[in-house]
């Protein structure tokens, strides 16, 4: 007994030593700590992405057992499909118009938020609400605001006599109004993110620059647009790219507000992919529609990295 205990005792330190050597080996430890996250991401982002590529060159549908390779047929079909082309156009239209508005509004709003004042936390909370609240629920709020009969907008405009007593615009039911409504909701939702990013940029500008400018007699707004804005331009680009990426890929606003209607006039790539692939069961077609988003995203990401790198060098 005693002998075996001695052997155990003699072996134990060497085991612990080996373990401690492993826990001290930086390279080994670094890989071991990183590996689980990488494996998870590859399994649930990388592989599904490859699967999406594979689906898009087949005729796979839900319940179809005879899956064939069809080459680029799905993509060619898409380009001949007027609904798809309309969705592609809408995707660009919504993203660029809303983010153009967002970046202009954000530069004003961030400027106004720069100074400290009493109750600033409350103003900030209110302005951030649209970004923080679940999008689908915030959008339902808008669904009620745009309601055809009980719309608060219509009531207000009628009561201040902008509309005559018999004007009943149907915000989500007329093509042009529906486009404007969707853009409004996108602006509402993505303005907070852009504002806070730009605000972060403003606060990184050294105070001496502002001081020098005010000694030279420049007023606040003049200083803002001639000095501050050019200095934070890279960060404004970053804010705009994130906004573009979120707007390009969003289907929630469309799904809740219009379902792509009236007559597909507000359909976007993401919602079309959902209606085709999940509700229609045409997995291959849906995957192909969704993949048209990828070049847009890849271009945005590359641009984002360029801007970020340049900003760091400056």
């Amino acid at each position: 007994m005693r002998a075996s205990a001695n052997i155990e005792a003699a072996r134990a330190p060497s085991k612990a030593e080996r373990r401690s050597r492993l826990a001290d080996n930086e390279q080994w430890l670094g890989r071991a700590m990183l590996a689980p996250a990488i494996v998870y991401i590859i399994a649930l982002v990388g592989l599904p992405f490859l699967l999406a590529l594979a689906y898009s060159v087949t005729n796979v549908t839900v319940g179809n057992t005879d899956v064939r390779f069809v080459g680029l047929e799905n993509f060619v079909d898409a380009l001949h499909n007027p609904t798809f082309l309309r969705s592609l156009r809408n995707t660009f239209l919504f993203a660029f118009i809303s983010q153009g508005l967002v970046i202009v509004l954000a530069s004003f709003l961030a400027a106004a938020l720069q100074k400290d004042f009493r109750g600033k936390w409350l103003v900030r909370l209110l302005i951030l609400l649209p970004w923080v609240a679940p999008i689908s629920l915030g959008t339902i709020g808008w669904l009620w605001i745009f309601e055809p009969i009980y719309s608060v907008i219509n009531w207000t405009l009628r009561s201040i006599h902008v509309f005559g007593p018999n004007t009943w615009p149907i915000w989500l039911g007329q093509a042009n109004l529906a486009l404007a409504s969707v853009i409004t909701v996108h602006v509402w939702r993505l303005l907070p993110l852009a504002t806070v990013i730009v605000l972060g940029g403003f606060s990184s500008i050294p105070q001496d620059i502002h001081d020098a400018a005010s000694v030279d007699g420049a007023g606040f707004w003049r200083r803002h647009f001639q000095i501050t804005v050019p200095l934070v331009l890279p960060i404004m680009l970053v804010a705009m790219l994130f906004g573009l990426i979120f707007a390009f890929t969003d289907m929630i606003v469309i799904y809740v507000l219009t379902r792509g209607g009236p007559y597909d006039t507000t359909q976007v790539l993401a919602s079309l992919a959902f209606f085709t692939g999940i509700e229609g069961g045409n997995l291959a077609g849906g995957a192909a529609y969704a993949l048209f988003l990828f070049p847009l995203l890849a271009a945005s990401a590359v641009f984002l990295l360029r801007v970020a790198r340049r900003a760091e060098v400056v």
Binding site: D24, N25, E26, Q27, L29, G30, M33, L34, A37, I38, Y40, I41, L44, P48, A52, L105, F108, W121, L125, L126, I127, L128, L129, V132, A133, P134, I135, S136, L137, G138, I140, G141, W142, W144, I145, E147, I149, Y150, V152, S159, W188, G200, G201, S204, F220, W221, P234, I235, I245, T249, Y255, A270, A273, F274, I278, G286, A290, A308, A311, V314
Partner: protein
Amino acid sequence: MTPAALKRLGARGVNVALLAAFAAFASFPFAWMLITTFKQTPDLLDPNHNPFVYHQPPTLEHLRVLFFETLFGRWVANTLFVGISVVVITLLLAIPAGYSLARLSGQIGEKLGIAIFLTYLVPSTILFIPLSRVISTLHLQDSLLSLVLVYPSFTVPFCTWLLMGFFKVVPRDLEEAAMIDGLSRFGAFVRVIMPMSIAGVLTVIIFTFTLVTQEFVYGLTFITAASNLTLSVGVPTFLVRGDVYFWGSLMGACFIASVPVAILYNFFVDRFIAGFTVGSVKG
């Protein structure tokens, strides 16, 4: 008053007007939810009534219907379950990965970090079709576990990136001192670095939770049984029956499900934004 003082007053007036206008625009839908929640239905559904005032006394009827006659309570519970599970998985994966990228992986660490962050930008709208087949192959359709499995695919990249930033600012000397005192490298991480990064971990918990409450596309795709939905999908799809909108209950549900989380999140938002601008703001 001197002209300069007048000018300053004017600038301040412009500021206040701007902020008031933006705050009103941003919060109007939520204020509208709140007003609608307590209005009696006949009052709501009269196009001649001024919608800003109560023509009949406020009522709690819509909230009663919401809590006792719909699955709202169930959806709250489902959201909490998915949220907490995803937080646990995210922490287990992102803490070691963030530390590894910050300290141990050297030059490659920087590039890998950016690559991981970029996967956060691969949208669910590209992945939901193949993932729906993966989920049905795993027999997880209609199960909350499908969401628990898939949600970390977007929370882990962002949280790894955020935590990497937190670990980078902890001085290296602290670990080295701990290692001289006899702790292993890993021991130094657990006993010295982790306690100093509690703020980072808390931030990650809040963000993971808000990302989970916001997610819509996967929930809509994987789950069809009404009793297994989360709030963000259940409220817009099942509180609207056919063409009948129960506006009072619907607005109550939206308000309750969005505003408390928003207030919590507000305390952490600066850190979140730092995550977006790392690399583009000079440190």
